[in-house]
């Protein structure tokens, strides 16, 4: 699978944050990016189109990141999609919860392009080993 053609879904209720993540992905060479403003919208998109990677914030209205993650893992067609959770602080309980719900990784904001790339590479290489 050509890494640069991966289709990303960025989920965050803040348009600014979505734009920043999109820009960082673009700088790392990932240009195929779509956005959703909460878990409900994200699930809708995921069920309609094939995505290769989800990057999701936790605190969102309507459906938060943990619930979205749980629903993704419960859906046969979606359960293997890598999901990177974005947390505002490195709170142990959030990270433990993310791991238990089946997140592929987590990243603490504000993050740099280097950190994002590092996490993406870590998750993608684990994927390719399976």
């Amino acid at each position: 699978m050509e890494a640069q053609n991966l289709k990303f879904l960025v989920v965050d209720d803040f348009a600014t944050m979505r734009r920043i993540v999109r820009n960082l992905l673009k700088e790392s060479g990932y240009v195929n990016v779509e956005e959703a403003e909460d878990g409900v919208a994200a699930l809708g998109l995921l069920k309609m189109t094939k995505f290769d990677f989800v990057i999701s914030d936790i605190n969102m209205p309507n459906m938060n990141g943990f619930e979205l993650l749980r629903q993704i893992r419960a859906e046969p067609a979606l359960k293997t999609i890598p999901v990177l959770m974005v947390t505002a602080e490195a709170k142990k309980e959030d990270i433990v919860n993310a791991a238990q719900c089946g997140a592929s990784g987590y990243i603490v904001k504000p993050f740099t392009k280097a950190t994002l790339e590092e996490k993406l590479v870590k998750i993608i290489s684990k994927l390719q080993l399976q």
Partner: protein, 252 residues
């Protein structure tokens, strides 16, 4: 090899914790997929219980709110509540203002970044293309006509550079100016903090004033600040009974 173990940073610690839980989860999923199923996930069992507890808290909160509301009305403290209630929309307005300002600033900055990146990428690309052509010149791979054309295009390129770098400068200034939200929002945040502290103090004063004598000592233990002596009123007894219940529920 290091003789002493390296100190683990908190981030590495959390990362290791995440990895170990993720690994456990994968193990559990693999085991569940096998025919001899091991009994279900503890976390799933905990969820309904947690939901039940949440429902209980919500009910109690509702009762307490009704109790407080009725009590304060009877005691004639509704005016204080009104001022508190008015303070909240004010705080909300201010917070909305901050959200709007920071959102606009972020958009301005990101627009600047987009423009800037287009400009710098353009300059870089043109320079690279021309450098390639000059390599051909130095490798003697070009005709006289080509050479004239390359020289002309190089000249044109240099003529565009001051204008493009000038635009980049403007973009950077715009991005800098977009940071002015910090000063404005900082002042508003300070006002909200003051408002919140004032609200808290008013609520605490109310709580102390409505405390029956018997529990006053316990209250003083919990709260800092002066005790206000409430004048005894016949109708206060009934309300005080309600407040007793309230305080008891609150664990005072």
């Amino acid at each position: 090899m290091a003789a002493q173990p390296q100190a683990i940073s908190p981030e590495e610690d959390l990362e290791a914790l995440f990895d170990s839980i993720a690994e456990q989860r994968s193990e559990e999923i693999r085991r569940v997929a096998e025919p001899d199923r091991i009994s279900g996930n503890d976390a799933l069992g905990a969820e309904p219980a947690a939901a039940g507890a949440k429902e209980g808290v919500h009910q109690r909160l509702g009762h307490l709110t009704r109790l407080l509301h009725d009590t304060l009305g009877e005691l004639g403290y509704d005016k204080t509540m009104t001022s508190l209630a008015q303070g909240l929309p004010d705080a909300c307005d201010r917070l909305n203002y901050i959200a709007r300002l920071t959102g606009e600033a972020a958009e301005k900055a990101l627009n600047g970044v987009d423009r800037g990146q287009t400009l710098q990428a353009g300059i870089g690309a043109d320079a690279t293309a021309l450098a390639g052509e000059w390599e051909r010149v130095y490798a003697k791979q070009v005709s006289v006509e080509d050479f004239r054309s390359i020289a002309q295009r190089t000249r044109e390129f240099f003529q565009t550079v001051p204008q493009r770098t000038g635009e980049l400068g403007v973009v950077l200034t715009d991005i800098m100016m977009a940071q002015d939200f910090h000063d404005l929002t900082g002042q508003v945040i300070k006002k909200i903090v003051d408002l919140t502290k004032h609200t808290e103090k008013q609520l605490l004063d109310l709580l102390v004033e409505t405390t029956p004598q018997a529990l006053r000592a316990e209250m003083e233990h919990h709260l800092a600040g002066p005790v206000v002596n409430a004048e005894g009123r016949p109708d206060v007894v009934t309300s005080q009974q309600q407040v007793d219940d309230l305080l008891e529920k609150l664990g005072f």
